[in-house]
Symmetry: C2
Amino acid sequence: MERSDRTLIIIGGHEDRSNNKVILGEVARRVGSGKLVVTTVAMANGTEQLFDTYERAFRSLGVKHLYNLDISERAEATVPSKVKIMDDAAGVFFTGGDQIKITSQLGDTPIFQRIREIYDDGGVIAGTSAGAAVMSETMLVEGGEEKSHVIGGSVRMAPGLGLIDGVIIDQHFMERGRFGRLIGAVAQNPKNLGIGIDEQTAIVVERGNGFYVLGSGGVYVIDGTEVTYSNVAEEEPHKTISIYNVRMHMLSQGDRFDLLNRQPRQMKGRAAEKLPEKEEEQTAQHA
Amino acid sequence: MERSDRTLIIIGGHEDRSNNKVILGEVARRVGSGKLVVTTVAMANGTEQLFDTYERAFRSLGVKHLYNLDISERAEATVPSKVKIMDDAAGVFFTGGDQIKITSQLGDTPIFQRIREIYDDGGVIAGTSAGAAVMSETMLVEGGEEKSHVIGGSVRMAPGLGLIDGVIIDQHFMERGRFGRLIGAVAQNPKNLGIGIDEQTAIVVERGNGFYVLGSGGVYVIDGTEVTYSNVAEEEPHKTISIYNVRMHMLSQGDRFDLLNRQPRQMKGRAAEKLPEKEEEQTAQHA
């Protein structure tokens, strides 16, 4: 299978790893006969079992060249044997864990430089949960679940890997009640589009200018372009935010979103057919 | 204090009952020297303790004429001694519990007729939690928390008391992750405006044509008027819904919303001053 143009597969967590594997199947399809590096850098412990789980999943999906990049401290990200794992990779998959471990251990290292090159050369960079959060320039780290955002905020944010511009990603979206914190992040700077991704759901971002939805849950796009008023700059830290005229799209599999003009549309015809919606289709592709 | 024009005070649950009591204070202020009936019809057990709690709260806020309407089966709603409790009431307060108990025991009874008259005569009808849900024509009963809505839905809906038209209320909104179910309800019929109310937060609806926000949390208004596409009528019950171009406003205390033209605005000048924001102001009013 040919390598497609540069792609991000950003997964809201808990993607299926043992049944129909729609989302991991998309990663496998895009890696094709190339090399896939699964990195467990986000995890402090249990990295071997986690890699085993993904190895079984990806091998069953036909991925033949599979490697684990396990980095437990930042110094390792410059060790030649570790850096060499990235050679000629067609794809990189970030597992879940702690997003700060990913950015603090890989940010501005030779390994991150390789990841950036793999992406720019037309590879696929995928990540689930913490691995999804790190894709944007600014990432949400913790706090603010199941409540409305207050001006002073209780949500920790940090700089992400910046593989996609102009968006803020949130994952485990409906499952963890994160609507309030994402709208809070958009209110702080409406140049960023908020994208909330449910579990078992992913967005597949092609060439950085649009995405389509894969999986069983929803994707919420929060667009602050037309906001006419918000109180987020007021000096009342405990006050709940106000924000008028937010545009929102709720998307699911079969929907596309154009990031350049911020418009959703349905996938039809050939584009829709390309969706690996069923177990049988995927098995057929990789058998 | 004069009785104001007909008012609904719709509370997202867990309003403060022992400290600053901003929301209950608004009920008390509007009832003034009139009679307030607290009805615990939504509860199966513990109605006396619950009434005691509200009695203490309302008495401390200066309400002098306070009665409990406890209905444990529908037949009681026609008993003259029970109906008589409603005589000359200036306000009715519905406690939390089970919203189906409220509608099944009071719907189309002489007591409900009295409640309707009290409202139409310029009284105040307030309700918290289950007591908030029953205000609209269609009420959300259960299900659909912390997940995105699917076409076939798992949210039970039922006919409410219909004191306010054209809206669907949801309560404990961010706290219980109910965004998905409310947007699902709006997608099914965008003529209804979705209004999600956080705990410790209320909307005060004046003459049925607008409201302002009271309390510490947020109020989310979901407007489907401009929706360009949704898949809710498709015959795929397990598919997650899609809906494009929803307009959303997140409001907090200090904001007003006009229900006729569906526009938010900030309260300023005299209107804002009327807000009983501080304990001191309320105590002064009722001392």
